[in-house]
């Protein structure tokens, strides 16, 4: 209750009724939700209510007796007494300023928008003005928000439509007009079914049912019809609109045109399908890897199979896992290739020594390039197993080398033999006139010996050049090997035990008896040298290679599926390391001391075996001896008998 205000006091003469009337007035003023301020003609505040205290931040005692201008912002104060005077000259109840917004000033100096209503009252026969002041900050803010929202709806690229629960369109923004082709004035009041193709009319019932439950419909993809009759793909988001009491009275509907989006998605899907089918159909291995980590993110079936993995197993592995790891076939080199591909922007192709799941090493040709997928770069690698190509290349290189050396050897041998002729024979002629006991005779003998040794070397070079040029007749291998073995015995020292294992089955091959003999002598000579002066063992065996024999080495796979004679020469000598074993068939490669070997024996042997359509292999380990296995294709004719052997001398 108001207690202490400076309201005009009733005179002694006022009766009880007047007293009660004034008391009612005070109570009404006090209870008003508006701030109430009463002033006289001079602007002195006579009375305020509790709301005034709240709105302006002053206490009642701070206001009573003060000029009303303290409640007005300074910039309006100068004008105010005149306006007040005008009002007192013609007082009548009216809003101040005809709907204009005025501003109040709080104790803390802040301003706020107000509306003011003015009422003339009398107090103790003095004319007063009772002002009712309402803070309209909230209302202003709400208006502002409403106009913002309206602007957003109007400027939205999506069609935004309001509708009542019976489907009547209640609002229609410019985007709706653009999308559907109906003007706002036409659309409002129409049924929403205007936009629904007949075959989808049931949809609206479902949507309304969802709305009545108070649920939202989010990004529902469907088709709507435009004014011109064309259908468009749209995404609908429909939300219920409630009144103040929470009752659902309608719905807002946001309609987005997704025709373009659907088209792009379709294209993307088709492109993805195309990619998948190509990815799967290509016989070569395709790998997609992260350029930074080298980890595979995708691999096709042939790629995984090439490395002995299932596709799933391979994803997550990195480049290092499928590389031999021997420099330069390691991660560092792989990174260098990737960097080069990235820097040049062109595909890089190179051979790579790969490793499969079982640890087997094999050659691949890799082509990499950097691609962009989803904005990030990836390494796209295509891998091809080139084991066979590498073998063919090696064979071709060997053949070319042999041919070149053969030609060279033939020419050199001819020249050397012509020079050795006078060296040897002239010496021998001189020796005929020298005394056998003389020092000169012995010296000349050394010249002849040297000449003869040189002749032997030239002969080997010639044999080398001749490899593969011999016409092949049908020969019985058991006989040839048997004869050669008797010759081998003569070159072996007594420290070496010779074992011969030849079963009685006759084996016929197309070949050159002399060359086969030469192979055996070459291999036996090497075996002898490998065993040196130590006690050793030399095994020569001849057998038939059955079809079910496991062909482990890659080379052997090139043998056609037929029977082969297997001629093996095995010694218990020093053996060879892997590096040496790989080079032994190269012309002029020798491990023997200078003067002891020409480096041609095994390349001649290789040439002869190849010339016979056969294959030669070496199995060796340092300290564990060496085994040469030679496979000759067998002639299968049933009536082949030794009597049918074609003399090899025939041309």
């Amino acid at each position: 209750m108001p207690q202490n205000y400076d309201a005009p006091q009733p005179s002694e003469r006022n009766d009880e009724a007047l007293r009660r009337s004034e008391e009612r007035f005070r109570r009404v003023v006090e209870a008003s939700p508006s701030a109430m301020v009463m002033i006289g003609r001079r602007g002195i505040i006579q009375m305020v209510n509790a709301q005034t205290e709240r709105v302006f931040g002053y206490s009642r005692s701070e206001l009573l007796g003060k000029s009303v201008e303290i409640l007005i912002p300074e910039r309006f104060r100068r004008e105010h007494p005149n306006l007040r005077g005008d009002y007192f000259d013609s007082p009548e109840p009216r809003p101040m300023g005809k709907g204009r917004i005025f501003y109040g000033r709080r104790k803390d100096g802040s301003e706020f928008p107000i509306e003011i209503g003015l009422n003339p009252v009398e107090n103790d026969n003095e004319p007063m003005v009772l002002s009712a002041i309402v803070d309209v900050s909230d209302r202003q803010q709400a208006n502002l928000q409403a106009s913002y929202l309206a602007a957003i709806v109007a400027s939205s690229g999506d069609a935004i439509i309001g509708k009542a629960l019976d489907g009547t369109i209640t609002s229609w923004n410019p985007a709706a007009q653009r999308l559907f082709g109906y003007s706002e004035s036409f659309a409002i009041g129409q049924s929403i079914s205007l936009l629904i193709p007949p075959d989808r009319s049931a949809e609206e019932d479902n949507i309304l049912a969802i709305l009545r439950r108070g649920d939202r419909l989010d990004h529902f993809e469907t088709v709507r019809r435009r004014a011109d009759g064309t259908d468009i793909d749209v995404s609908l988001t429909v939300s219920p609109i409630r009144d103040i009491s929470g009752k659902i009275v309608g719905a807002s509907k946001i309609v987005r045109d997704i025709t373009e989006l659907k088209y792009s998605a379709d294209r993307l899907r088709r492109s993805e399908e195309r990619f998948r089918s190509i990815f799967g159909a290509i016989a070569e291995g395709i790998f997609i890897a992260d350029p930074n980590t080298g980890v595979f993110t995708e691999v096709n079936e042939p790629g995984a199979r090439m490395y002995g993995y299932a596709v799933d197993e391979m994803i997550g592995l990195d480049i290092a896992a499928i590389s031999s790891g021997d420099a330069p076939y390691d991660l560092a080199s792989a990174r260098a290739w990737i960097e080069k591909a990235a820097a040049t922007g062109t595909p890089q192709t190179f051979d790579w020594y790969s490793k499969d799941k079982s640890g087997r090493l094999f050659w691949t040709e890799i082509s990499i390039q950097i691609g962009i997928v989803s904005g990030g770069s990836v390494v796209i690698a295509i891998a091809r197993d080139v084991t066979e190509r590498r073998q063919l290349e090696a064979q071709l290189r060997q053949a070319l080398k042999m041919e070149a050396i053969g030609t060279l050897a033939g020419g050199v041998a001819h020249e050397l033999n012509n020079l050795l002729q006078p060296i040897i024979m002239m010496t021998e002629l001189v020796m005929t006139s020298a005394s056998i006991e003389s020092k000169e005779f012995k010296q000349l003998e050394h010249v002849v010996d040297a000449g003869v040794k040189a002749t032997e070397i030239v002969q080997r070079i010639l044999d080398f050049g001749r490899a593969g040029e011999v016409s092949h007749g049908l020969i019985e291998l058991n006989l040839v090997v048997g004869e050669a073995v008797s010759f081998i015995r003569t070159i072996l020292p007594s420290t070496v035990a010779l074992t011969v294992e030849i079963d009685k089955t006759p084996r016929f091959i197309r070949g050159d008896k002399t060359q086969i003999t030469q192979i055996l002598i070459n291999l036996a000579t090497n075996a002898r040298d490998a065993m040196g002066d130590t006690i050793g063992r030399l095994l020569v065996s001849l057998s038939t290679n059955q079809d079910d024999l496991e062909l482990v080495a890659p080379e052997r796979r090139t043998l056609k599926r037929r029977q082969y004679a297997l001629l093996a020469v095995e010694d218990s000598g020093a053996g060879m390391d892997c590096e040496t074993a790989q080079r032994i068939f190269e012309p002029f490669f020798t491990t023997k001391e200078v003067g002891k070997g020409t480096g041609l024996g095994l390349s001649v042997t290789h040439g002869i075996v190849t010339g016979h359509g056969g294959i030669i292999q070496v199995d060796t380990q340092p300290g564990l001896g060496t085994r040469f296995s030679i496979f000759f294709p067998l002639e299968q004719s049933e009536d082949s008998t030794p009597g049918n052997i074609t003399p090899m001398e025939e041309m």
Binding site: G410, H414, I424, L429, T432, T455
Partner: protein, 125 residues
């Protein structure tokens, strides 16, 4: 003593074989190639022709065939330094064509004399 035509394009070989033959008191006429050899063969009587197989002007095989046409009875020893394509086969071919012996260079003195004496005796092998 025999009269022998020696044909080879290598002067050192000619010199060596001449020395070996004259040591045995044979009479030797030399030629550096098949053309020259043929010319000399036509104007002289020879008991034996020793010819290289590969020579620049007239290949030895061709020379032997021509010799055979001119004189079916003349004895021929073919010699070769080997080398070049199928050269050794040419030695065999020379034998088939009528050379009584085929020798590969470098020929040892003993072997040379031995073949020579058998040839001149009428049975080279």
């Amino acid at each position: 003593m025999a009269r022998i035509l020696l044909v080879d394009d290598e002067p050192l070989v000619i010199q060596t074989l001449s020395d070996a033959l004259t040591t045995k008191a044979h009479e030797v006429v030399t030629a550096a190639n098949g053309v020259e050899g043929m010319a000399k063969f036509k104007i002289g009587e020879f008991d034996l022709v020793i010819t290289d197989i590969i020579m620049p002007d007239k290949e030895g095989i061709e020379f032997i065939m021509e010799l055979r046409r001119l004189s079916p009875s003349v004895k021929i020893i073919a010699i070769s330094g080997g080398g070049r394509t199928g050269n050794v086969e040419f030695l065999k071919m020379a034998t088939k064509l009528g050379a009584v012996a085929a020798l590969k260079k470098p020929i040892r003195l003993a072997e040379f004399y031995s073949v020579l004496s058998r040839c001149l005796a009428g049975s080279p092998n």
